[in-house]
């Protein structure tokens, strides 16, 4: 299984000062699989994605993409491996000095995949996939609502049709219908392009729609991992408490600390 995994995280550790955030995370994601990572606020989900992207250097552990450790590979090789990743940041992270279409086509232009003269038309096509019309293309990010910004950010993440897609809370801040649309879009991208994806979410309905598999991050480790269909019958008290949103249970201890 792990031999052919698209992404493998092994024994990943990261602390900020004395605060241990990741304490030996192990996670394998098979090719063409949609993994959903759930976990409480502040449990280190975003940090995990940023480690995979190389934006935060981990203290210890391995991150294998296509079987190669990106942490020890030469810089140019690591960059090539990571170049197949598209990322949706939790807060969108749109470039506010660039228009919407320039944001969406940014990665395509930077990789020289299209001509600048073709870029706007291509961006409009991708925007249509996330349910945004051409009128939005010439606006600037600060002229959009939060949900629209999220969709533009999603369009930017998928524009280059990356082999690996990381989504940090793709549906947070969207109304339920648009949330379902975005979930459908993510599923579609992953299935159509054959991409491997990791999505972070707090929303169990969304997790069920997006994920083939679900992993729960708690106390710096993956405490449960299994098929999405089995999450309700996991038998793990941490998972049960989380998905049912109960105040009483083992996770409360962690909050009090």
């Amino acid at each position: 299984m792990s031999e052919c995994a698209k992404i493998s995280v092994r024994g990943l550790r990261k602390s900020f000062g004395t605060k241990i955030v990741l304490d030996g995370v192990d996670l394998d994601i098979a090719p063409r699989t949609a993994m959903v990572v759930i976990g409480g606020s502040g449990s280190g989900k975003s940090v995990l994605l940023k480690c995979i992207l190389g934006l935060i250097p981990p203290d210890d552990g391995q991150i294998l993409i296509d079987g190669e450790d990106v942490l020890t590979a030469p810089t140019s090789r690591a960059r090539a491996l990571r170049d197949q990743i598209g990322m949706l940041f939790q807060n969108g992270a749109l470039f506010d000095s660039e228009s919407v279409w320039e944001n969406v086509s940014f990665g395509l232009l930077a990789r020289g995949l299209i001509q600048r003269s073709r870029a706007r038309a291509r961006a409009v096509e991708v925007l249509a996939q996330v349910g945004l019309g051409e009128t939005v293309a010439d606006l600037f990010p600060n002229e959009l609502s939060g949900g629209m910004q999220k969709r533009v950010a999603l369009a930017r993440a998928i524009a280059a049709e990356p082999a690996i897609m990381l989504f940090d809370e793709p549906t947070t801040g969207l109304d339920p219908i648009m949330g379902a649309v975005i979930d459908g879009l993510i599923v579609d991208c992953v299935k159509r392009l054959g991409s491997t994806s990791i999505a972070i979410t707090h929303d169990m309905a969304s997790a069920g729609r997006i994920g083939d598999r679900i992993a729960m991050l708690f106390d710096g480790r993956i405490v449960w991992e299994g098929n999405a269909a089995e999450v309700r019958a996991s038998g793990n008290p941490l998972v049960d408490q989380f998905i049912n949103g109960r105040r009483e249970g083992p996770i409360k201890m962690a909050l009090r600390r």
Partner: protein, 261 residues
């Protein structure tokens, strides 16, 4: 015993912090310069930064230069008339401006105006993950954000100072001809008489260095800012303070290098 060592430990900590800060700055500068030497080049970002420094700072720098030229003429007259040397006004005005006041005052004004804006913009990009987003989109943030701004600073500030030199002389001219009875021809003749090319070029070289410094400080403090709006605010302040002090210190060093060697 532990108490006794406290000051030593503190000194050690400060030294270590300083060394790591300088190391960080050195690496940052080096990668920006490498970014200028090898493609891709980001022309659009360069022209934006160039317009910001060179064009939109014109009014501020022009005002500064005119008033400085005027006050120089006034001071020189009142001071030099004590030993009947008023005819030196044009030379004093043009030499002080080209060699010293043009570059330094324009540098300080631009540091306040553009250095702070650069730190705020890049700092905001940092705390909203936009810089991280750049690197996930196959773009080196230092190459994309920093290199074009440094180049713009190096080119735009000398041009701005050239304008400041001319306007400053015009300010002096205005005061001397309207208040102290200089004839226009005399004033212009005296202005040229003792002016060497080196006076102007040394000032322009100074301003290229200052332009680099302003952009570097703005980018560097913005780039390493942490912790939301407050972090961006303090990055902005640090950028302006650091750029201003460096301008004054470098001015001394460069003057020494140019004119006493």
């Amino acid at each position: 015993m532990i108490r006794l060592l406290d000051p030593v430990a503190a000194l050690g900590r400060v030294t270590l912090n300083l060394v790591s800060f300088l190391g960080e700055l050195g690496l940052f500068t080096a990668s920006a310069i490498v970014g200028l030497l090898r493609p891709p080049f980001y022309l659009r970002n360069f022209s934006r930064a160039f317009a910001e420094i060179g064009f939109f700072s014109l009014p501020v720098v022009a005002m500064t230069a005119i008033f400085t030229g005027m006050v120089l003429a006034l001071q020189t007259y009142t001071g030099f008339s004590r030993f009947a040397a008023q005819s030196a006004i044009p030379s004093v005005v043009v030499l002080s401006l080209t060699r010293e006041l043009g570059p330094v005052l324009a540098g300080l004004m631009v540091a306040g105006r553009v250095g702070s804006a650069m730190a705020a913009e890049i700092g905001t990009m940092r705390v909203t993950d936009q810089i991280d987003a750049l690197s996930t989109l196959a773009t080196d943030p230092i190459r994309y954000l920093v290199a074009p701004r440094l180049l713009a600073g190096v080119i735009a500030l000398p041009l701005l100072v050239l304008v400041a030199d001319i306007l400053g002389v015009a300010g002096g001219f205005l005061v001397a001809t309207s208040r102290f009875g200089f004839s226009a021809a005399d004033y212009l003749h005296n202005t040229q008489q003792y002016l060497h090319t080196a006076d102007v070029t040394s000032g322009l070289i100074k301003s290229a260095v200052f332009g680099f410094t302003i952009a570097l400080m703005g980018c560097f403090f913005g780039y390493r800012s942490r912790g939301g709006a407050q972090g961006v605010g303090s990055a902005t302040t640090s950028a302006v303070v650091a750029a201003s002090i460096l301008i004054l210190a470098l001015d001394y060093l460069l003057t020494q290098a140019f004119f006493t060697a």
